[in-house]
Each structure stands twice: as C-alpha cells, then as structure tokens.
Symmetry: C2
Subunit: 319 residues, 2 copies
C-alpha cells in the first residue's frame, strides 16, 4: 500500500479497507450503503462498544497495526461472548492522521477481519475521519440463540466461581515490554494479541451460568462488578489460580508478585462466571472461588481478606 | 455538574451519564453490563457508525454540548432511517480530556437522549476514555419491520427522484457562522441541530422506494452514490428545488449562489429517494428530478449539465 492516508483520500481509503473484508451468511448487507444489515435470528441483538486510543491503549512501537486490529476486535467480541451470545458483526469508527501511511489502517483492518473470523463474525461497516490521534472505536454485535443473556447480576450465595482463558499474561507481557525487553515471547504476544475463549461464553450460558463477564479490568475488579450487581460477596482461593512457572520467573526478575498480574491484570479477556454448585464444567474451566452472602458491602476477597494491592484500571485516574 | 471529567473519574462519569438516560420497550438490557440487549423483531438489525471530532465536525464555540449530542445522534439515526428502518438504539464511544468540565459530556448525553427520543430510539451503552481531542463515535441500530432494506443500488431508468426534509440550511448556517454572525437564527439553528425526517425513511420503503439515502455529503454527491451504485444517470431540475427567500438574501449578503448550498450542502440529513413513476407521494415529498439510463459513466446532472462547482465533502481532501 503506497502513500499516505491523505494522498489516498477518504473514498480511496474506504475502498482499500473494504477490499480486505470477508463475509459470513449473517451479513445481509455489508459496507457501502447508509448502514449494514445483519441477521439477528434471536429477535434480539447484543451490542457493545469500546474505544482505543494510541498512546493510551496501544503503542505503535510495541504493536503492529495488525495486532491493534486483533486486540481491539477481541475486546469487543469478548464482551458479546460474555453475555452468552455468539458474535456476528463488527463496525469500525477510525480516526487517522492524514500523514499516516495507508498501510497502517489496511493492516488494522486485516487484524479486525481475522479476529472476527476466529469468533465467527465479520466487519460490516464503518467510518473513517481525519484527526491528530489514531483512535479505533469498535462496536460488536451478537446473537443470543434463544438463551437469556447472562448478566453480572445473577450470582447467588453458594454458586461456584469459575474461569476459562488466560489471566495475567497480558499484564506480565506489559511488564516485560515496559522494561525494554521483547521476551519471553509468549507473554509479549499475549499482551499484543489476546485470545479470548469466545466459544466459552455461549457454552457457559447453556450450562446455566448465573452471572458472567470477561476479564478486561482485572479479575478482582471484574468479579467486583459481579459482586456489586448481584449483591453478594465473592471469595477467590489464590491457590486455585494458575500461575505458570515462567510467570513466576518474570515476577522474580522484575520484582513483582505474579499473583498480582493474575488477580489484577486486564486485557486477556478471560471469561469468568458463576454457576450453581454441582454444575459439571468442561475441562478448561477452573473453579477458583465461591459466592457468599454479602455481609455489609458486596465485595471480593482473596483467601478471605480484601486484596489491598493496587488493582483494576480507571481510565481517568489510571490507578 | 461540578468538577472536571478527571476529578469525576471513569466510573463516576459513567454513572453521571447513564443517570440521564431514558428507555424504551425495545431496550431489553441497558447500560451497565458487558453489552446491551436490544429487540430486533425483524430478525435482522440495521447498524451504522459515524465519528465526529472537535474542530473538524463541531466547534465548542459554535455549538453547545447538547447540540453536538443532538447532531451526532441525528446523523446516525438518519442513516438507519434511510435504509427504510426504524431506529431502535444508539451506542456512544466518547473520548474526553481529563480537564474538561464534566458538564460537557453530561449535556452531550442529554442531546443524544433527546434526539433518540425524537426518532423513537434510546441510548443503550457506551464507553468513555481519556484523550486529547473530544471525539464522539456513535453507532445506531434499527429494525426493518419486515420490509427489505432500501439500498442505493435499486434506482431504475424512469424512476422519479424525490426529497423530503431540509436542503442547504446547514450550509447556509455554516456560512453565516463562519463570517462571525449569529443570525438569521433559523439557519444557524439548522447548522447546530439538524432535523432529519426519520419517519419518512420507513414510509418511503412502504411506498416502494427503489433507492434511498440521507443527504449527508450534499445532494449532488449523495445522488452520485445512488447513480454509481444503481448504474444510472440522474438529472435534477434546479427549478424544482426549494430555495427559501431568506436563503437567497444570505447568499446575496455573502456572495454565494444559494443553489450551491441546496445542491452541495451536507449535514441537513434530508432523505432523498427514487420511486417508480406514478407513485403517489405524501405532501412533504418534493419531486426534483428523474432517473435515466446511464450513457457512459453514471453521473448526476443539474438541468442536463454536470454541476461543476465545488461540492460534496471528502473528509481527507476537504474539497
């Protein structure tokens, strides 16, 4: 792709971007008209939106455009899956500087397309405008397949808490990158390109999950959202969390308790859910805690005590 | 609303914004979970997205936050209506500087909410992040009510071209504002807050419109999209366009042919459609031209000749 975004012009860029796309049977009308049309067989549509900004959510020296595409699609598609829905479609609002190489948005689109394919969805529309800061605004849609949405508010005392996917890998990768290293690759890759277990969301809904969310702010913070919405307390048993040996090694090298990454690291988009006790969970789910009655304020504890180290992520406070 | 966005924090701002919202029966699950759930009784959902940036699409000294909310909702809801669909829901991706007064996004949300109410829709979700430049990324959803979507590609030779809504008012208002004036108010208001004829989209679909779009880039440019997609030529009769006397007065005052605003001004979000000859159109539709076979390249002419003055809007070239 030669030239800059400005040289290509708005309509040239749109042509270049849409030429990269593939489709699915759910796409009744793709890009190029006033709006797209997507199948919603359930008669309800699940919809979520997220915005990523250069310098805040990604860095061009750490992540390729393709990786940013994979990651920004992943975090939205994971939100759809965490409702128990099957992702169907994605829309892109893109802000790019005129002097940016046109290769960047084209590779971003390739990343969006490929992550959509992993989840069974397709990019169906978008908008590109000129601006100073690269900004990627994604909306993802999904279908509930005749199941009720699994919200954050259905956890009941006695439920077990279980998780599937990766926890703390992206945070460990970030720690590595921010100290100027490029390895271990597995963690750096996990930071650049999360792999949410999309199928696990609808599967958990089918198994009777009472509450569910994806881990985007960190396990303790996201379980906190479930605790608050459900009016319960949740206790996590740290011994039941998977802390890989290599993560422990990185922790020692950089002076961080790796449990901190597992409990508070976001962006891996693992899926955490609560299930009635006795639910037979598939092999890749790991029971990590239980739901109790709220005594006072709903909260999350780790091994019976509040987790008092810094955690979660406030996009304005940045704590 | 006291304090800045940064002082309020991400979750405080989200609480302040969602507290402003109203709902509709189509909203099955509103803000506060991983995703929203919206009714899609047609089993298909119409979806469109647009991004507005401060300094490029709006100016804070010309438009209040409330007006920006109305306008950014309007341009997306109009895209839904122009497919022949009834708008149902809107999602907001918002970038705001930490030092911005929290009043600004709250009033923006009021504007989004009120414009949604005009169209019969509701704000169902969103994301707020910190960044240097205020950026408003909107996604709108709609329901087709068992009618096929009206695309840009169905215009046939012999069809009539008809329009409803306002044309050139926003452009005339922009001309007034950019010369430092604040009146005539009607045009300035039209620039700040368009009034798309939402109901006319589904009504046109019901009447058998063969092609349809909203006028966001300018009448000639948007009819050009229909001509290209349909493989036809379109001729507009300038004498059949409504050029209000007051617009002529402004044109004389600033040295612009007001027909230029009517033919090339965007952002009023009028709805223009093609209909089979003999279609009985409701009173507020105005027949302004006809569809002919394409001789050579599909194109739009005005009174039989290409409109050669500057027109349309390329977001990168800015012509």
């Amino acid at each position: 792709m030669k030239g800059t975004v400005g040289e290509l012009g708005e309509f040239g860029l749109i042509r270049a971007l849409t030429s990269r796309l593939t489709t699915t049977p759910a796409v009744r009308l793709g890009p190029g008209d006033d709006a797209a049309v997507v199948a919603a067989p359930d008669r309800r549509v699940v919809a979520t939106t997220d915005v990523l900004i250069e310098g805040r959510h990604f860095r061009r020296d750490w992540s390729t455009a393709y990786d940013v595409g994979r990651k920004s699609a992943a975090q939205n598609l994971a939100d759809v899956a965490a409702m128990g829905a099957v992702p169907t479609a994605l829309l892109l609002g893109l802000v790019v500087p005129a002097e940016l190489s046109a290769t960047w948005p084209v590779e971003l689109m390739d990343g969006l397309r490929d992550e959509c394919q992993v989840a069974g969805a397709a990019v169906v529309g978008g908008d590109v405008v000129r601006g100073e800061t690269i900004t990627v605004a994604i909306t993802a849609l999904g279908d509930l397949r005749n199941r009720e949405p699994v919200t954050r508010s259905g956890a009941r005392p006695g439920d077990v808490v279980a998780v599937t996917g990766w926890l703390g890998w992206s945070a460990a990768g970030y720690a590595v990158l921010s100290r100027g290293f490029r390895s271990p690759r597995a963690f750096v890759e996990a930071h650049r390109r999360p792999e949410p277990p999309y199928h696990a969301g609808p599967a958990a809904a089918e198994l009777g999950a009472t509450a569910m969310t994806d881990v985007s702010d960190g396990l303790v913070a996201d379980l906190g959202h479930i605790a608050t919405a459900s009016g319960v307390c949740i206790d996590v048993k740290s011994g039941d969390l998977d802390v890989p040996a290599q993560m422990t090694d990185i922790g020692q090298a950089v002076g961080v308790d790796p449990l901190q990454w597992v409990l508070t690291g976001g962006e891996d988009h693992a899926i955490v859910a609560t299930f009635p006790q006795g639910t037979k969970l598939p092999a890749r789910w790991r029971v990590i805690g239980r739901v109790d009655k709220a005594v006072g304020t709903p909260q999350v504890t780790v091994d019976g005590a509040p987790w008092d180290k810094a955690g979660g992520w406030d996009h304005f406070g940045g704590k």
